[in-house]
Symmetry: C3
Subunit: 401 residues, 3 copies
Amino acid sequence: MGKEKKWILTDVKAGIWVESFAAACEKKDHKKRANWCIVKRQLHGGLTEGVDIIEVNNGALSFTIVPSRGMGLWKGTYEGCELGWRSPVAGPVNPMFVQGSDRGGLGWLQGFDECIVRCGLDSNGAPGEDVVPDNNGNPFSVMLPLHGRIANTPARRVEISVVESGKTTELVISGIVDEGMLFSPCLRLETRISTIVGSNAVTLHDEVVNLNTVAREMELLYHCNFGEPFLEQGSRFVAPSRVVVPRDRRAMEGLTGYDRYQGPTPGYVEQVYWHQLCSGRKGDTVAMLRNKAGNKGVALRYNVKQLPCFSQWKNTVGAGEGYVTGLEPGTNLPNAKRFEREKGRVIRLAPGKRHVVDLTLEVHTTARGVAGVEREIAVLRRGKPIRVFSQPVADLSPGGN
Amino acid sequence: MGKEKKWILTDVKAGIWVESFAAACEKKDHKKRANWCIVKRQLHGGLTEGVDIIEVNNGALSFTIVPSRGMGLWKGTYEGCELGWRSPVAGPVNPMFVQGSDRGGLGWLQGFDECIVRCGLDSNGAPGEDVVPDNNGNPFSVMLPLHGRIANTPARRVEISVVESGKTTELVISGIVDEGMLFSPCLRLETRISTIVGSNAVTLHDEVVNLNTVAREMELLYHCNFGEPFLEQGSRFVAPSRVVVPRDRRAMEGLTGYDRYQGPTPGYVEQVYWHQLCSGRKGDTVAMLRNKAGNKGVALRYNVKQLPCFSQWKNTVGAGEGYVTGLEPGTNLPNAKRFEREKGRVIRLAPGKRHVVDLTLEVHTTARGVAGVEREIAVLRRGKPIRVFSQPVADLSPGGN
Amino acid sequence: MGKEKKWILTDVKAGIWVESFAAACEKKDHKKRANWCIVKRQLHGGLTEGVDIIEVNNGALSFTIVPSRGMGLWKGTYEGCELGWRSPVAGPVNPMFVQGSDRGGLGWLQGFDECIVRCGLDSNGAPGEDVVPDNNGNPFSVMLPLHGRIANTPARRVEISVVESGKTTELVISGIVDEGMLFSPCLRLETRISTIVGSNAVTLHDEVVNLNTVAREMELLYHCNFGEPFLEQGSRFVAPSRVVVPRDRRAMEGLTGYDRYQGPTPGYVEQVYWHQLCSGRKGDTVAMLRNKAGNKGVALRYNVKQLPCFSQWKNTVGAGEGYVTGLEPGTNLPNAKRFEREKGRVIRLAPGKRHVVDLTLEVHTTARGVAGVEREIAVLRRGKPIRVFSQPVADLSPGGN
């Protein structure tokens, strides 16, 4: 059994909120282990005014968790490499400046600059009309804006813990974020974000709970976004894809090179590919973005039973616009919810039930590390060919064939 | 003449704002009187970030006033009984997180967890299109979202005073909340919220002033919400109703038991009844929610000349969804404003004129106290029968007969 | 070369934010020069909660800059005369309380109480539908709300500097405000707001930069608003107008007295006139509002090459509604953007390019000062007659002839 230290930083019900906090490796641990520290503070100025952040440094990998933005992972660094991207927005942005219904339902983008941002929980994907029951139980047409509310909802509870077990130390940030209101689905995100001291990885263990006494729908997508140095001219997307489908006509244009990236390209219009990934016996899979030289890579490890869908978002626009690619495992594809429901990809949670997701972001800065992940992916594929569809498919894209 | 002490906590024009404040009963008053205290502080974390609250404890009854939310009464306790309800929302919620136009105009619910929340001042009720004059004086179609803006508008002035008069001490929280902008109605709420030390009651004395030099419309409804222990399976609504009308077909289903409540019922769809209440010679009336045993009750005392309309909102959904009933006296019924205007229930205030409301919330935790209010109600009814309409009425409900 | 002192108050990227700051004239400068001071602080309470302001007093003229509101100039005073107006809104208002899409796209007015507020940068003017490229490069219909986003966007960088050069001391507030997000125009406002110690003027040197690598549109209008004592019954608008055109039928009603003002008039409906101003050889011009007696005036100096359009907004409503007139030089007229684009008045900025504007607000409190500006204006006009159109013009007003 390990030894655990805990600190509650926020608990709305109990009236607890800690403005600033720091915990760090003590001297006695100093011998072989890496130094680590966890700092909680509040940002001020510009769009960051009042944002709570938790900076975690495990001695090798560092990253920032943002309780004010639904416990997203803002940015990180590993061996001098930036994790994340350069959004036109200088965040992390306080949700008070984000108006989801702006610009035809794309207002979510006003706050979008994270490395890992969850899209959900009631809905995610493109803005679109949906029909929901109103307070009288009658069908009621509403506009669901882009990517839902969870990323712009502050955590009601935040806890830090440090778990020592044998020679390993685990740093843990736990949070609870409630999305809901009267007459609407009430869904809770319980997240446990952890990293082993000295490691190259951070893991999100998320559970989405239906707090209602009636069944509720949910959608959840992990929008994992990377720019330089992992994304560059000649970077590659490597994954055990069994099927690759272009989202639309624009994606068809780049189909032959779907897994290769351009450098920053002014005027570039996004290309999106739907992937179906092979997995191991228990459903485990891994997808990676690697640089041209093959000595830098970011890999996502997750389970296709938990996250059956995967979207590859290529947005290699000019540097000023936000040069980025998104690797996006999800319970669904980021189409408008109505379409996803029709296609059977919206989860229905019974009262009190949970949907559990484990997602690990792993960083490699050596050719050997990158090659290791590529070998794993080859094993997962088991020599099967990739089936690349030449056109959009009706089951996956509105307007597809 | 009494002795009065005053403290200004907020005055935007004068640049006054006090982050934290406390006043309490001094020793010399200790003999027979109850201890009392008033504490002002700012909340942090989650949706409560930055919310100013004033906690008042009169020695027996305690309650929280929220300047950040239009001087609403958040929650209270009396003799160990909670006043208020368990909303899916963990507030009090900073208005910066509330976007009224969300979800088809129901975004107001994102902040709804109070015991007493005012709905108004320019409009309240169901979301709906309305035609207002634009900056050019031309008719302009706008969407009025649910329940208006006053509950999501912070007070521009807040003052505490303690008034001693003979053997009684009165604790008073006064506030000014301005709703308005250029080319729109500018209405001011001046509220004086008071409680006598040791008593079981709190009184809102509200005045709504038209700040413009042209006549303006106003609507005001007091959404008074209670859950357990006052609401439970077998609780009853007791009031000197002369007329009871179901709002819609759904309300017709529960008509025979309109005054009785179910326990938490997953999947329950709200039922609403319009009441016309008898009153005393000066217009005074009282309505009560009491528990099954008849030894716990919350009574609302007000004047039907000030608040001619009354809505009983039954929303006995599951505990996770927000098990609650609302007793809602108002200047109008909570229908869309356009409908209420057609039916002549929207007040028109001449320039500088005021609409005054006095509303008292009184709590009983003895069978004797509850029975006393029931006797009062019987006297007000003067033996007249209650006329219960079997169907919605065109004058009161859109789509009624 | 002058001597310069600098202080950075906000820099989001560098993590700098100073809660309060003061700089003032030191004793050694005391002999003949006026005392000056610069104070930065944060407001609390009501709609001002959390707003950063910078109060500048040059010894004669004082004014308040609001980093939280896009570096607007809130109010000022000179020789006991208020600069600005009495809006129904008690600000400066934190943008978190402003929801632009409210009330048919007029929500911007919820925060409108400044003396000088910039309208832009992607769009300004009346709310209206526009077609923009979506994330897929396809045309997408969106609602552009009144006057755009820049006034409700906090500055990401704020710097104070004091520049001494010979016998003059210049007080400078510099700020950077970014408007933009993924898939939308990213425009930066770099502003340098300066005043010479002891002078009667403040100058805005603004540069709008296209941060994208593709060409982007921009609109920019300076909404300069004045009430008493400069505006009163009998006040006059004095400018070297070559052409005056009523915006609409309502403006036609007041055409003969377009340059004269009424006192506060309950029920007054705004009248707007488009002006084309004469200018000097380099494009410099000046427009003034003066009081009836001609001993108080506010003059705007700017360049018609930078700001070719001018709108005179007469809104002499009752005192409670916001008695005010706006003098509004702009790159365009405040019509809906779509109309302005059709008429060729929307600027297209190449990648990295800038649009530069210099605007000076000058205050006079003597008959001699006012007469001096009137003489300047007469010289600019060079004896040419003013052409006053009797009707709206199709090129300038939607629905014009």
